[in-house]
């Protein structure tokens, strides 16, 4: 019988929660956006441009992107942990993904407020 003390280390509980909370945030954003666009049939450049010029929409879109980047990081890291065994290669790939996702976050921020 292995006596494992499970106090202290959280064995990925935080990641598990982040993955689900970010999923719910993105799902709600997507459903609300798609439904309002579909109901009002707003797909032209003017319509979309106007929607994303609204400050409330900008802020919720940024929240969506923050959720997306966290969600993508945990998901891709899990894939690497499962399939990429050499530590050096996995480290290199994980660092590349973190840099790419950080870049995407800055890009989103610049798109929304520039």
């Amino acid at each position: 019988m292995v006596k494992r003390v499970i106090v202290g280390a959280h064995y990925g509980l935080k990641d598990w929660v982040i993955q689900r909370v970010s999923a719910v945030v993105m799902a709600l954003y997507t459903i609300v956006f798609c439904l309002t666009a579909l109901i009002n049939n707003k797909f032209s450049y003017q319509d979309l441009h106007q929607i994303f010029s609204n400050r409330f929409v900008k802020i919720t879109t940024l929240l969506f992107f923050i959720s997306l980047l966290l969600h993508a990081w945990i998901g891709i890291r899990d894939i690497f942990m499962d399939y990429i065994k050499p530590t050096s290669l996995r480290f290199l790939l994980q660092v590349s993904v973190i840099i790419a996702l950080s870049g995407y976050g800055i890009w989103a921020l610049l798109i929304l407020w520039s």
């Binding site: 689900r20 999923a23 719910v24 799902a27 997507t30 450049y45 979309l48 441009h49 994303f52 879109t61 997306l68 993508a72 998901g75 891709i76 894939i79 993904v97 995407y104 890009w107 989103a108 798109i111 929304l112 520039s114």
Partner: protein, 128 residues
């Protein structure tokens, strides 16, 4: 001790074993997630950028997205998103202990597969 060394039946013949439907949904959830990371996120940002830019930027992506090969990529990403979305909701329900019996889990995985393909076709037809 004899129990420990007993030969158990083992079948690893890939031509006779197959992944059950919940397993197929699971691996597709992973593949679609990888596609969304590799293609989906840059595509989304590129599109949002052109919407926030001036009308000529939007014109450029409209002609770009009219290209047949790019339409195939868009369709693949659309399916990836819808599958990831539907399978994700199924996992959230499973986390809440909803549909964890074998029959229910099998049924819901088939629903996920079917709904995401049907929605991809419907939205694909509507967009083009």
């Amino acid at each position: 001790m004899s129990v420990m060394t007993k030969k158990r039946p083992k079948n690893l013949d890939l031509t006779t074993i197959k992944l059950p439907v919940p397993g197929i949904v699971s691996i597709l959830h992973r593949i679609s997630g990888a596609l969304l990371f590799l293609i989906g996120i840059p595509l989304l940002l590129f599109t949002l950028q052109s919407v926030m830019g001036n009308p000529s930027d939007f014109q450029i992506i409209q002609t770009l997205y009219d290209n047949f090969l790019i339409k195939l990529v868009l369709l693949t990403i659309l399916w990836s998103f819808l599958h990831h979305f539907c399978a994700g909701i199924r996992y959230l329900l499973l986390d809440m202990h909803i549909g964890i019996e074998l029959a229910g889990a099998r049924l819901s995985s088939m629903v996920v597969l079917a709904v995401s393909i049907i929605l991809t076709i419907l939205i694909g037809v509507k967009l083009w």
